[in-house]
């Protein structure tokens, strides 16, 4: 079974797909350590593939210190309001939740929310909206060059509140941005 799972994962990877290794590991059950070793060995020893233009664009924006999510949004010709409209509609958010949604989305683009805190449905919606992968939404976080590691650790471990005064938190919005589920 591990051989079949590895075979399928490796062939898909070689074709340029990006199969989630965790789905394969889950299917391997107790032998997931063995499968993880095979996948890792493959990744280490196979020649790398050529990156697609979008990944190059995102990586270059990120290396310059820009927000990758903003770069993706601009690339798609979307304003921030257009993204908020789409999210409001998809998740049937009350119009009263708009200020909280705007604030949270701003925080996400600015790197003030850890992508691991995002709900899966929000990650999927953003990937769809920005026409990218969920991997990209979760890994391309803005760099915080000016922030010390101690602050980062502390910020990541504490629940966030909307930073603008006068904006009330909204439970539906926070469920999307902070639940991690």
């Amino acid at each position: 079974m591990v051989a079949q799972l590895f075979d399928d994962w490796a062939a898909r990877y070689a074709r340029g797909e990006r199969p989630d290794p965790r789905e394969y590991l889950e299917r391997a059950g107790e032998r997931q350590g063995e499968l993880a070793g095979l996948i890792e060995r493959y990744l280490v020893s196979a020649p790398r593939s050529a990156p697609d233009p979008e990944t190059v664009e995102l990586a270059e924006a990120w290396a310059r210190g820009e927000s990758p999510l903003v770069a993706l949004r601009v690339r798609r010709g979307l304003t921030r309001d257009a993204v908020l409209d789409e999210l409001s509609e998809r998740f049937k958010l009350d119009p009263a939740a708009r200020p909280a949604l705007r604030e949270r989305y701003h925080e996400l683009e600015a790197g003030l929310i850890e992508p691991r805190a995002l709900s899966r449905r929000l990650t999927a919606a953003l990937a769809d909206l920005l026409r990218t992968s969920e991997d990209a939404v979760r890994t391309w976080r803005p760099r915080r060059l000016e922030v010390s590691p101690a602050f980062r650790a502390s910020a990541a471990s504490q629940p966030m509140k909307p930073s603008s005064p006068g904006i009330a938190p909204n439970p539906d919005v926070d469920d999307l941005f902070l639940s991690g589920e």
Partner: protein, 172 residues
Amino acid sequence: MTAERMRDARDAEDALLLEAGAHGRLIAAYYDVVVQRSLARVPGPSGWDVAHAAIERLLSELQRGRRYTVPYRVVVHNIVSWTIKEHFQGLPVDVPLPESWDPAAPEEGYGSVELAELFEQLPPAQRDACVLRYLEGLDVPEIAARLGKEPNAIHQALFNGHKKLKELVGGG
């Protein structure tokens, strides 16, 4: 192009990008590898954190402007291995690697054995099947047609290739 030539071509391309200071492009080139390795080794949402930390470290290493005595891919895999190891040791990974760290040092043999070299140990027909499957991603019927063999023979060749890979992991 053979796998070995493909690897050499990538190494040469990496060297040019390093020379040109094209950090974003180098990061992009290894992004998938970093993410997939991190997710394969680190369960749960922490896999994303480790991937991001490794990417941050790749960039900070590039910005140090070091010259490497090994291909850049070896440096990448060493940084990923180191970051995964530190994560499991409970150490903070969202900090640059220490200046004293040698990015060219062999790390658990990673980067020292290539997939193509591994398959070299197989008879030619089996080797070709493994290369087409694991480096080009062809389906078994496509490989059979390309090599003029029966699908069963291809399945057997892939089974042997998998065994070789497993031996390497077991001994690695």
